[in-house]
Point group: C2
């Protein structure tokens, strides 16, 4: 601010407050600072500061493998709790795993494999204490629909299986890289509203797919949209199997009843958690005793004994369908990540501990990479299973290890028991789980609070149900981004008025009692001034001036002489924005008006200064608060001198 | 605000100012208002209000055809000025038209056709008084490179020509629809920085292409990138023609000299304007007299006499290459629009009249639709020609009509004169025009004022020169959008301090003399709180609190008790943002801190109210200004009562 002490050559009055230009910083320094703020907002290296090297090593190891942090403090008390929780979630994991693998058009045994290796990896690397690892319905369905578009799972099961492993590998690599590259914020672009709509849509689609199992149909559409499914169902009415349908409805009723009781009293959570396993046992017994498999009730059939075979050699990177696998991996990887991170965060909130999003991503990624090499497909932290884990009183990630061992025992000894499990029971289990994902109350809340979020939510729902899962996702993310862009492209400009008995100036829309100041138009802009809005703002401001002049003319008030722009909410400006100011200044000068700025922020002042706009406007026309600006303008209006003098010098008497 | 008069049940002190929730509005009303603000920010129907029907009809006709507005007031004085300007731009239009048509791989005569019909259409519908219509180099090059990718202009000239007409038609329809649908703001997404880089890149590429003409090469690469061109040039060194090169350099020197003089004294503008035509005349004479066409100097050859033949039947909508034509039309249409609108706006600024962007788009669109039916290719308002028009003293769009008639006379009678015009002269004309488009001073200015804009500019330049025109455009627009998204995804949070001798609170980074308030952490956020930044803000705010607590602990000051958030710059909030506040409130409460909000805006208050957050936080913890909030917190800190009392009640003594 060059000539500091006398910027008002024609007056001897000094101004109370001065708008500062932040001290200049070397480019490299400000660049590193803004990079750090973008990629390391949580300052992950903070705990390493001022520590001896040995401590740094331990902290580093604990950073990569959080198990090293909690294992030494692990107590018998904890083990007891984790044992109960682990067995509870295993009883849920086994039938759900088989069901979701069927949903993904993969061999049912993969569902069990996927509940063995990945939970072990997560237990070592994950930082959530409540997350229970497993496969999820939405990612399973996505795998089926995206891979199914190019490769038919029935005609070419081996290729399909290998592509599924490859997609899982790609998803894992993507997840781990997002974490390592600190790009975790990409997941944030899936807003809450998107996820509500998307989940409900996916749940609807998954339920629709279960009509195949419930009605005992052998041929079914490969499409996931409502119209294809309905056509497929109602063109085959003659093939519906009533035995299957009756069985399905009974089990569904039982499962929903169990959930109803669990919801009513939270200490009955185990009813709901055990219901799938008891359904499976009961259904299998029923089929075994009645030989219903010969009467149109389809069963799982033979499951191979033994733990996960290696599949690292099956990763199909040479396949001509590799691009499909990559695409599937990216989409499912991001979706799975979003669910897992959201679940981890919610439970961490409850129990008041901190979760590092980027670290979690690395854990998810490593778990899927390891999974893809050991015959697992995509896993994450499903909400339903984690909620059961939480309710069962888990203390640490040890419950995942317990679950993994329970699944291992099943794999080694108990697989023959699932031979007679009817598919219709699996369908019922899936439907029951999915109905819980349709959160219509959240949608109603969105409608009440924010119409645009509701639109995003509905866009995702309708897109998923009538188009495809990908379309729904693109629509929802597109709408969300459009909102951000529209916010910047069409910022709100507001006329400010004086709050009575004060020197505070606020929007006259929000404060109907705020008064206009005769001869002065005060405008506030609510967004950074960027290329995307600079033409709009120029035109909108000139329209405000037109309207104000019309109003003044018709009412016979003091004619307009000053336009005060409150820049407090203008976070940044680019070169297009600066040009806009230059044009605005010319425009107002031609009309005989004086442009006055109030409270520009640091970034804005820096750029206005570098582009010499401050010199061209005159340093003395930039005020710290709207109150000071209006005070000065008023003083000049009433003394009728075209001179610039300072505001009433009472310190602190001014306001924005 | 429900229980208005006694929201502080435990005190009898009334607060000075209250944060208002804007009066509720029916959904439909606020929806229409925001639609109107988005699509009709200029309120185009304003002039129609309160007018009799006959007047409305006239105004409506004048709106569609601005010529009806200015023609009745047209005077002989104006005609004289427009006549001079029109003839001047015609002398530039004829050689430039031929050159650019060659650049687009189209028959040279199309360049003349395109300076006949489109200017007439624009003269009737356009609202700029200074714009001179014609073809432009960048769009010509784009046509050549995009259409050339699928159809070879030399092997299949008819198909290529028909696709060019179709692309022009598509561009016209797109431009007109953008105008009718009020989507003109899409053009704003091409920022000033993008255009500087893009234009310079395109100019470089166009100059490189001229090496073919200058060196007299017969075979040349179809690629437009630097590497392909350099390879093409240096693998054919034995085929370089020195006659051609010498001629080219001489003319280039002459043209640049002419421009140098014109730039030095603006009343010598005609030297530069006439130079291309004199080059053509002189070059043709030279070839005619020396028979240089037999010694390796290529000439234009035969040009058909007569005005534009109809081409409406040549629009190739049934062609298998229609998708290429559509893509070309969209890209060239948007680029041409951006240039035309920018040029129109700049000159309107100079002469202080208003241009309606959407109306201009309709004019451009109609002119290109009409052009595509009458053997013209894409036209817009080129900067160079419009600048000459402006300097020549044009008064209205009549100068375009004069130019069109001059071109018509050329088409009818003078085409044989161009038979001997050497191609190398055309190359020189193009290079001379292009060198003027490389605005390195603007790039330096960008570097000084805004590093990110410089990056966008360089991205566009490098993308165009080393990749292709489309790549450059995608890179630049992508970077620009990334900036907007980053602004929202990583808003700045700032710690505020007290400006000495006042109750004003400002960022301590910008105002190094601002003082911290013991026991109170004051933070300001600088962007709307959306899904894209809500997790970031939650983590960043909790890090600010951590850091402040560490600092306080080490320095032994009053321990932290209040966190005041200045919401003045938070323009909007969505449901993810509201969840963030709920989590933040829980988090601060667990740490024994109290969350206080200052100055939330209307939109934010509305949504916080609807989501019941205000009730959960307590209405009494929301203040109109930071000053009032800090005053109240300070009072409570010093009286050490866990009770809420109002700030010092002196009205107006508080500040944000």
């Amino acid at each position: 601010m060059g000539n500091a002490d006398n910027v008002y050559p024609d007056t001897n009055v000094e101004r109370a407050h001065r708008v500062a230009i932040p001290p200049p910083q070397p480019f490299l320094k400000s660049f590193t600072a803004s990079m750090k703020e973008t990629f390391f907002p949580d300052d992950p290296l903070r705990q390493f500061k001022n520590q001896p090297p040995s401590r740094k090593l331990i902290l580093g190891l604990q950073y990569v493998l959080p198990i090293l942090e909690w294992a030494p403090r692990y107590s018998l008390q904890f083990l007891k709790a984790d044992l109960i929780a682990g067995i509870t979630i295993a009883s849920l994991a086994i039938p759900q795993g088989i069901s979701y693998a069927k949903l993904a058009n993969l061999p049912p045994i993969l569902g069990l494999y996927s509940s063995f290796v990945p939970p072990l990896v997560y237990a070592m690397m994950g930082s959530s204490r409540d997350l229970a690892v497993g496969t999820v319905a939405v990612a399973s369905l996505l795998t089926a629909s995206m891979l199914g578009n190019t490769v038919n799972a029935n005609e070419n099961p081996t290729l399909y299986l290998h592509l599924a492993f490859t997609a899982t590998f790609v998803a894992g690599v993507l997840q781990a890289s997002l974490g390592v590259l600190r790009l975790g914020f990409i997941v944030d672009f899936l807003s809450h509203a998107t996820i509500v709509g998307f989940m409900a849509g996916a749940a609807t689609v998954v339920c629709l797919q279960q009509l195949k199992g419930i009605l005992g149909l052998e041929h079914f559409t490969h499409g996931t949209d409502l119209i294809s499914v309905m056509r497929s169902v109602f063109t085959q009415t003659h093939k519906w199997r009533w035995e299957s349908a009756v069985l399905g409805c009974c089990f569904l009723f039982y499962l929903l009843l169990a959930r109803y009781f669990s919801k009513k009293r939270s200490n009955l959570f185990w009813i709901s958690a055990m219901a799938p396993l008891t359904s499976v046992i009961f259904g299998s017994l029923l089929v075994y005793l009645t030989h219903a498999e010969n009467h149109g009730v389809q069963v799982i059939g033979l499951l191979k004994k033994g733990v996960n075979p290696l599949s690292i050699t099956h990763l199909a990177f040479g396949s001509p369908y590799i691009s499909t696998a990559i695409k599937t991996g990216i989409v499912t990887g991001v979706i799975a990540l979003a669910e897992g991170i959201a679940v981890g965060r919610s439970f961490a909130m409850f129990k008041n501990y901190h979760i590092d999003g980027n670290k979690e991503m690395i854990a998810f990624g490593m778990m899927n990479i390891a999974g893809s090499c050991t015959s697992c497909y995509l896993t994450t932290g499903p909400f339903s299973r984690s909620a059961v884990n939480f309710n069962a009183g888990c203390k640490t990630a040890m419950s995942n290890i317990v679950m993994a061992f329970a699944v291992m025992i099943t794999l080694l000894f108990l697989t023959p028991l699932f031979h007679y499990t009817p598919l219709v029971v699996l369908s019922s289990i899936i439907i029951a789980a999915m109905l819980g994902l349709i959160d219509y109350e959240a949608a109603i809340h969105l409608w009440h609070v924010d119409k645009f979020d509701f639109m995003v939510c509905m866009g995702a729902y309708v897109g998923v149900v009538f188009g495809s899962v990908e379309i729904g996702l693109v629509v929802a993310v597109g709408l969300s981004l459009l909102r951000v862009l529209l916010f910047v492209a069409r910022p709100r400009t507001m006329v400010l008025g004086n709050i009575p008995d004060s020197v505070i100036y606020r929007s006259v829309d929000q404060y109907p009692n705020a008064n206009n100041v005769p001869g002065i138009l005060i405008l506030e802009m609510n967004a950074p001034i960027y290329f995307a809005n600079s033409s709009y703002l120029r035109e909108r401001i000139s329209r405000w001036i037109d309207e104000e002049e019309d109003r003044v003319k018709s009412s016979g008030e003091t004619s307009l002489q000053y336009v005060v722009l409150d820049m407090g909410a203008v976070g940044n400006i680019d070169t297009s924005g600066i040009s806009m100011f230059e044009e605005l200044k010319k425009g107002t000068e031609r009309r005989g008006l004086k442009l006055v700025l109030a409270n520009p922020g640091g970034e804005v002042m820096k750029k206005l200064n570098k582009s010499k706009f401050i010199d061209s406007l005159g340093q003395e026309w930039i005020y710290l608060t709207v109150g000071e600006a209006v005070g000065a303008c008023n003083f000049m209006l009433h003394t009728s001198k075209p001179k610039r003098v300072a505001a009433d010098s009472e310190p602190g008497s001014d306001n924005v």
